[in-house]
């Protein structure tokens, strides 16, 4: 078996292993470190010794031993009596593999809620979730976000100390706080997905695909909360967007816009699952922004050719999204849909107010969309100017290349 397959097995176990340690010992920081160490042992042993019959139990035993060893040596060094008081003699006997994995209860929700604690800044929530719930190493997370490993290590360790300082508990929050806390988790998973979905680097052997991680964790959250409409909506949105992955870039790495994608390359099983999820969520309501975005992705996915797209339906969905969660980005996308239904002039009218918005004015997307609609309207010269503005403002290398080509096809490198 390839080690990538083994890595999948042990990473699948991580939330339960960490939860078992947390329930027994309480100390998040120490428990999380011990789990990471147990994963390193697994990485060394499993490829030669084979996967244990009960991988989860095996990891719990190894991690517990690490934790207890660490505490013993700390006690010996510093005589920290408070720690001794917390650990009973029974705890100090590392449990046997066959009894370690007791209940079938899934603690990943509790763990996700803890990692996405409101006391943590968003980037720390993201980093901690990827390490403690997805079981990624600090190095893998750092590479995925293109930051130095030391930066990511510091981010994670500060997040863990913060949780200790505020004495965050490993428990499900009270019912009245739960929806808000689950929404924060969904937002974090969405960030992981968009980061992974947009980045095209990190294709090294030990690099992970963040989009896959986001889908895996969201799937798990959905299993735990099958009636959560927005969690279903988020999972559907991820599946429908990810289904286009193979068609999104051409072999030379440049981006292929939705309208030009080879739709036979789309993952149709993923599309079917996404559509099923969003249809069910919308039917049971209340409707939310993730469900609407998923519904829009579903309408795109249902068209075999770009020209078959049901733009009227997409326009209606964007109108609902605007009413529910208005933002300049929603208006931008709404304008495209409106242009497809009522013509480019209507879309351009909708964009005009955004040109006065201080933040949007500096967004390449506004100018790229305007350029596209001007082009549709036959205003070629103005379109060229807007494409050039968009290219100057773009911070993505492939997008800038694409926009420069649209602005002045004759300029640039000869290929």
């Amino acid at each position: 078996m390839r080690s990538a397959g083994l890595e999948q097995i042990w990473r699948q176990c991580v939330p339960d292993v960490l939860a078992a340690l947390l329930r027994r010992y309480g100390d998040f920081e120490a428990a999380e470190d011990a789990v990471q160490e147990a994963l390193l042992v697994a990485a060394r042993k499993w490829p030669t010794d084979g996967v244990p019959d009960n991988p989860k139990g095996w990891l719990i035993v190894v991690a517990s031993r690490r934790l207890v060893d660490q505490w013993r040596s700390e006690q010996a060094r510093a005589g920290r009596e408070e720690l001794v008081a917390r650990i009973s003699a029974e705890d100090l006997l590392a449990p046997a593999a066959d009894v370690a994995d007791g209940g079938e209860r899934d603690d990943s929700l509790t763990l996700l809620l803890l990692c996405c604690h409101p006391a943590l800044p968003r980037p720390s929530q993201v980093a901690l979730t990827l390490r403690a719930v997805a079981g990624l190493s600090t190095g893998q997370i750092a590479r995925a976000f293109l930051v130095p490993e030391a930066t990511m290590a510091q981010r994670i360790s500060r997040a863990k100390s913060r949780l200790r300082d505020i004495e965050a508990r490993f428990t499900v929050p009270a019912a009245e706080h739960l929806p808000g806390r689950v929404a924060a988790v969904a937002h974090v998973l969405y960030l992981v997905f968009t980061e992974g979905h947009t980045a095209t680097t990190g294709a090294g052997l030990y690099d992970v695909v963040l989009a896959d991680e986001a889908i895996r964790l969201t799937r798990r959250l959905h299993e735990r909360l099958p009636e959560g409409g927005e969690v279903s909506g988020l999972l559907a949105l991820m599946l429908l967007t990810d289904a286009r992955r193979a068609a999104r870039s051409s072999p030379d790495g440049s981006l292929v816009p939705l309208a030009d994608q080879d739709r036979t390359l789309w993952d149709h099983a993923g599309i079917r699952e996404g559509i099923r999820l969003v249809e069910r969520a919308l039917a049971t309501g209340p409707v939310g922004p993730f469900q609407l975005q998923a519904a829009i992705a579903a309408v795109h996915a249902e068209a075999d050719r770009a020209e078959d797209t049901d733009w009227a339906q997409i326009e209606t969905l964007y109108r609902m999204l605007r009413d529910l969660a208005p933002s300049p980005v929603v208006t931008l996308n709404h304008a495209v849909a409106l242009a497809m239904v009522d013509g480019p002039a209507a879309g351009l009218d909708m964009l005009d107010p955004l040109l006065g918005d201080r933040q949007m004015r500096r967004s390449h997307r506004l100018h790229a969309v305007r350029a596209h609609l001007l082009e549709m309207d036959g205003r070629v010269e103005e379109a060229g100017v807007s494409y050039a503005t968009a290219a100057r403002l773009a911070t993505s290398i492939p997008e800038q290349r694409y926009l420069n080509t649209k602005a002045a096809p004759q300029k640039g490198r000869h290929v």
Partner: protein, 130 residues
């Protein structure tokens, strides 16, 4: 989103923190320097804790630079400093934050007497769908 904050300054003699070596900085009172230091330290603590600070370096005297020109015949190295510039790159901070507004809020605190602070988005290799 990643941004670099570039500190352009002309300290005389070259030294860090640059604002205590510039003519404009020397004209300020110790109290004013203390207040600036306090604000700056508070910002550093904040962006380290939030994970927004990625990395930072202070740069050596531009006289220690080597400049490389390119020509088809071969590369030509000359001793610095880069003559056309009055103010030199004195240091940089790489930050990673959620929005342009946030980056601007951070960069504004870097404003210093006798220097110019430049905020620039970093390019990245990915791209957005649609």
């Amino acid at each position: 989103m990643k941004y670099v904050i570039l500190i352009h300054s002309n300290p005389e003699p070259w030294g860090h923190p640059t604002q205590i070596y510039t003519a404009e900085g020397r004209a300020l009172s110790p109290e004013q320097h203390e207040e600036m230091d306090r604000q700056f330290d508070a910002l550093m603590t904040e962006i380290s804790a939030s994970g927004e600070l990625v990395t930072a370096e202070a740069l050596a005297d531009p006289a220690s630079a080597t400049l490389y020109g390119w020509s088809p015949e071969g590369h030509l190295a000359t001793e610095g400093p880069y003559a056309e510039a009055k103010e030199h790159l004195a240091g940089f901070f790489l930050i990673d934050c959620a929005s342009r507004e946030r980056a601007e809020e951070i960069a504004a605190v870097f404003a210093q007497p006798g220097g110019v602070v430049e905020l620039r988005p970093a390019m990245w290799p990915g791209g957005e769908d649609q």
